[in-house]
Symmetry: C2
């Protein structure tokens, strides 16, 4: 298999951290997003959605979408479980991963894509008002998450899961838009420090 990776973009990093947590090694090829290589005919033949990451299996089957790739590795290498085990545990981890996507990673990405000058070549049209509208959503969710993390170590409960990976990547991606976790969100900051100190966070 081969993983088409995309450097510092948040979604490729989600998969790299996931794979590192699993202790799996995957041959990787970089797609240079700065050069818009994801829009080349070669890459469009792999993923018509023109997004990274994408995983190509030995028989040529392509799995795109970060979480689909993560679920594939979860099935190949069940330990440690990052999507939970059992009906309820798995459902709650899915809920928290989606909350971290919809209310944190997605708004952070919108701020970046619609306000950062470097994204002008990629995002057409950039809608500055939409970028601005997403800033308060980021901080609202972080404040809500802070209340949740008062009573538990990780986003979805007592264990590190894919929801922590999504939230970590989102928080780290705030930096490119000069957004910072407010000082008073002490539980988010404690969680972020713990998640960042895992070897996988360097992925």
């Amino acid at each position: 298999m081969k993983l088409y990776d995309g450097g510092r973009a948040p979604n490729p990093r989600r998969v790299r951290i996931f794979v590192a947590e699993k202790g799996v090694t995957v041959p990787t090829e970089q797609v240079d997003l700065g050069k818009l290589e994801q829009r080349s005919a070669t890459y469009k033949a792999i993923n018509p959605m023109q997004r990274v990451p994408a995983l190509v299996l030995d028989d040529g089957t392509v799995i795109a979408e970060s979480i689909a790739i993560c679920r594939y590795f979860e099935a190949l290498q069940p330990d440690p479980p990052l999507f939970g085990r059992g009906a309820l545990d798995s459902a709650l981890i899915e809920m928290w991963n989606r909350r971290a996507e919809l209310h944190l990673l997605f708004p952070v990405a919108m701020v970046f894509q619609h306000l950062h000058p470097a994204m002008k070549i990629m995002v057409d049209p950039q809608v500055a008002d939409w970028g601005e509208a997403n800033k308060p959503r980021v901080f609202e969710f972080l404040r809500f998450l802070d209340g949740e993390l008062k009573d538990r170590p990780y986003v979805a409960g007592s264990a590190f899961t894919v929801a922590d990976i999504t939230a970590l990547v989102a928080v780290d991606f705030m930096r490119v838009s000069k957004m910072v976790v407010p000082e008073d969100l002490v539980h988010v900051r404690r969680w972020h420090e713990a998640a960042s100190s895992r070897p996988s966070a360097r992925a």
Copy 2:
């Protein structure tokens, strides 16, 4: 258990169709979105994200996020499998469900939320340019999907899955924004007719 439902909104319908396909009956309570009941203190205690649907279990545990609720029912009632079976099949269904969300349901929702006058009370701020920017994305994805459906009956392959539910709900939700599947997308139209003729589609 009790399902907090939301009438004609697309996400509650996803769960209703899913549950109907499973042949499961769930006690339901309507949350009146027109009256902003999802923002009431009572409902915020159930789902702080102020969104429907939400499933409350007998011990009070809340599962929010449509796909998390669907996965819970998939675990309770595995037949018919709507998220696939086995590593590859499940990963491909996850990929197609996410494509249908990110490139179809989500853009359709953005067009509605940011352009429809009735949404002014719910969406603050409405960003008309962002609504407009999402229209071409809807039709681009439908055209791509048409090419895919030339060679297979359903969105993710030979079986009806959660990806069909997401895509069906998205296409039906185009109507409120006066968007129509173009006549020449014959494969999408054939698929839509087949999906719409299932008893679950009335949910």
